[in-house]
Symmetry: C2
């Protein structure tokens, strides 16, 4: 074992700026549109729900943006995160491939989400915002925002998808430990929520609905703003620290990835790991295949349409050009709650359209089988979301076993599964089923997507 198990960076080696892919693309990404006029959105269109600094980042064409010192200070609680060589998984799979995984589960919330929660809270605090609202599904994002709000003394209101609120009380407790207030969505607090509850008191909720509620609340309170944990350009910007660190780590051991696989729901983990590598690829310095992995039950890239759609169910957000299953699409309750989103980050959608990345969809039972192999060899119990990336990495490693190639496979283990053990219980008990993609539900949801000239 010439490569160490963990390739670490010292705190002083942590990148001090984020990377913005947009200016390096051969074709600029289509702009968001105002939902009423269908004209390109301007900064004021976002001012009721986002602080100026984040709107500027959302629209920035700067290649690099400095990370504020106060944000770096909080990042140091867990960053730089380790890059692992999966020696023991390689041995289990009997593959000549070399597998590396960047592990983001070392953050207090247990995933990559604090990478953007911390700067989002800090920029809001700088502009005098005293309260933040957001939505959360399984709870990874909500707990990350609650943690970040505790760091800077802001209050934090979280609308959690009702199905998860009921099924995952411990994530709620985690948010409350950090001082967050958590509401089941749809809630009685917003007009939209009340309408939905009137129609169905047991409404299971969805991320799109919870986004609508959190946006409405923020827009109604001058001291409050809204935060989103994925999809948007500024979120992917903040997550670029994952890929920037990984580049430094691989350089330390002289490795160059042949293939990069990462799971994608809204796209922030995928973009965070891969966009710095895409920069290197566009510049001709590296040449990895870059592949997004999505759940077979919510395949926005591989089965959705590329068109303008809303980010939320009520249709409050600007229209974004993205791969979408339709903003009224309610994904089946697969265990990877963080991948249950109808759309895909506009930047990820755009580079997919440009042919710069590939995409595949994998059913959850294959993902959990891979996650158990991973846990028994590498130790860490993965969250259901990155189990998709692990399953894809295992496919690659087994292909190398067939071909005899020693390819270098890089993936992101974007979180641990300590709060997802009920899903493993189902898998180990033989009760997990692969949910058939409801094609008719997509067709139905696509009818709600607005026509844009």
């Amino acid at each position: 074992m010439s490569t160490p198990t963990k390739i670490m960076l010292d705190e002083r080696e942590m990148p001090t700026r984020w990377y913005n892919l947009a200016p390096d693309l051969p074709v600029p990404p289509p702009p968001p549109l105002h939902p009423g006029t269908h004209q390109p959105a301007v900064a004021e269109d976002f001012a009721a729900i986002f602080p100026r600094a984040l709107i500027a980042q959302e629209m920035s064409t700067e290649r690099y943006i400095d990370i504020p010192g106060a944000v770096l200070d909080v990042y140091r609680l867990w960053r730089p995160s380790p890059l692992f060589r999966a020696h023991r998984l390689e041995k289990l799979l009997d593959t000549p491939a070399r597998i590396y995984y960047k592990y983001e589960g070392v953050s207090p919330a247990g995933s990559h989400k604090p990478n953007t929660a911390v700067p989002q809270v800090w920029y809001n605090a700088q502009e005098g915002v005293r309260r933040l609202t957001t939505e959360t599904g399984a709870g990874q994002w909500g707990s990350s925002l609650a943690f970040a709000c505790a760091q800077f003394g802001l209050s934090c209101d979280i609308w959690q998808v009702a199905a998860s609120y009921r099924a995952k009380p411990y994530r709620r407790t985690m948010m409350e430990i950090w001082g967050g207030r958590v509401y089941s969505s749809p809630s009685e607090i917003t007009t939209f929520g009340r309408e939905l509850l009137a129609a169905n008191p047991d409404h299971p909720g969805s991320l799109g609905i919870a986004i609508s509620e959190a946006v409405m609340e923020a827009a109604a309170d001058p001291h409050a703003r809204y935060t989103l944990g994925s999809v948007l350009n500024h979120v992917l910007l903040h997550q670029s620290i994952i890929g920037e660190e990984t580049l430094l780590q691989l350089a330390k051991i002289g490795e160059r990835p042949d293939v990069i696989v990462a799971c994608t729901g809204g796209g922030s983990n995928f973009g965070g790991l891969t966009f710095p590598f895409l920069r290197e690829k566009l510049a001709g310095r590296l040449n990895p295949v870059i592949r997004a992995v999505e759940p077979a039950a919510c395949p926005s890239l591989t089965k959705g349409e590329y068109r303008y759609d809303f980010g939320d169910t009520a249709g409050l957000t600007p229209l974004m050009k993205m791969h979408t299953l339709g903003h009224r699409f309610i994904p089946e309750p697969i265990h990877a709650g963080g991948l249950r989103y109808h759309g895909m980050a506009p930047l990820v959608s755009h580079v997919y359209e440009l042919g710069l990345i590939e995409a595949i969809a994998i059913p959850q039972s294959e993902c959990f089988a891979g996650a158990v192999q991973f846990a028994r060899s590498e130790g860490i119990v993965p969250a259901p979301e990155p189990s998709h990336a692990i399953a894809a990495a295992i496919r690659e490693a087994l292909a190398c076993r067939e071909s005899g190639e020693s390819r270098v496979i890089l993936t992101a283990l974007c979180g641990h599964g300590h709060l997802d053990l009920a899903a493993y219980e189902k898998y180990l008990g033989g009760e997990m089923v692969d949910i058939e993609l409801p094609e008719s539900a997509i067709a139905e949801a696509m009818r709600s997507v607005p026509e844009v000239a």
Copy 2:
């Protein structure tokens, strides 16, 4: 902030030998006794339940023992573990003290327990053992052993205290992910378990009972051996890597601890952190106050008697000279399940008797209050066990605020609380009570302790 947030060691700096305190003590620790003859136990007395290599370590008078290469390889999955400077907690407490915590929650099982699970499994595997048995309370030890067995291909049978088996299904799932088989204790599998269930079908179990069952099963199968996650000398030996790493980390930044506080149940976390520092103290190179922190509801050091007693409830183990509440004592169901043990490691008990360490007991509500302060400042949600250490560190830091002293406080955060969130839910909901120590229960349990001449 001149000190970094995390003081890290490179894999190549990881200690390659464990430290055994026994030969450095001014008075040798009293030997274990055969339960029948009350004569000092010899190696053969342990041969039915432990492999020869571990028995040799249990009785060793060597100061240092080399860590096998295969064990170091597995340690590298998470070791060296980080030492944190608690900048943000210090700020919250407005204290001139400098607080450091060694964090063991980075291991796959989320605590310090894999430090000994891995070598125990490896030594057993070397001697041809194919199956290991053990007990577990909250599940930290059981999951660590299951993880270690998965690494070396042994099968793993775990008796989990019935109350925890029912209340904490997710820890059971974690053990099963790593391939462990988990039984509720008392179980129908052993004669002792059947007797207890016949008397009380809803028996809540205890660690002492689960130990008895696991020992009985191992003794009955020539291919099986028993493992214990705390108390014994060889367990504390393996945990010494915690303190050895910490010494290297503090040396890197030129700090010398004035006071070390660590929680103690069986004693392995406490001994692991503090014994290397005690070596330095005995040699006159450092002079820290060393203080054990135990739960007010199970205070073996501060309220137990120092005498020979059994390690298990059925009275199968050799007699050990230790602080004990009586081997028939069933502690109240506090949330720090890992601290609910009637006895204390003989080595920890011995150094306490020699006046080399201090001890205090803290009620759980103060511990949870400290843990929430810790989570909101440092991010990590602590397990209930180390919340005792955190509460003690906060007491010290507040004393420094009063006195104006800049003391250096060192503590061990021996695990995260991701699988203990139900306890936090109770605390945040105002439902946590401090359990009054049942003095009469201790007196009753002490009557079962054998008289030894």
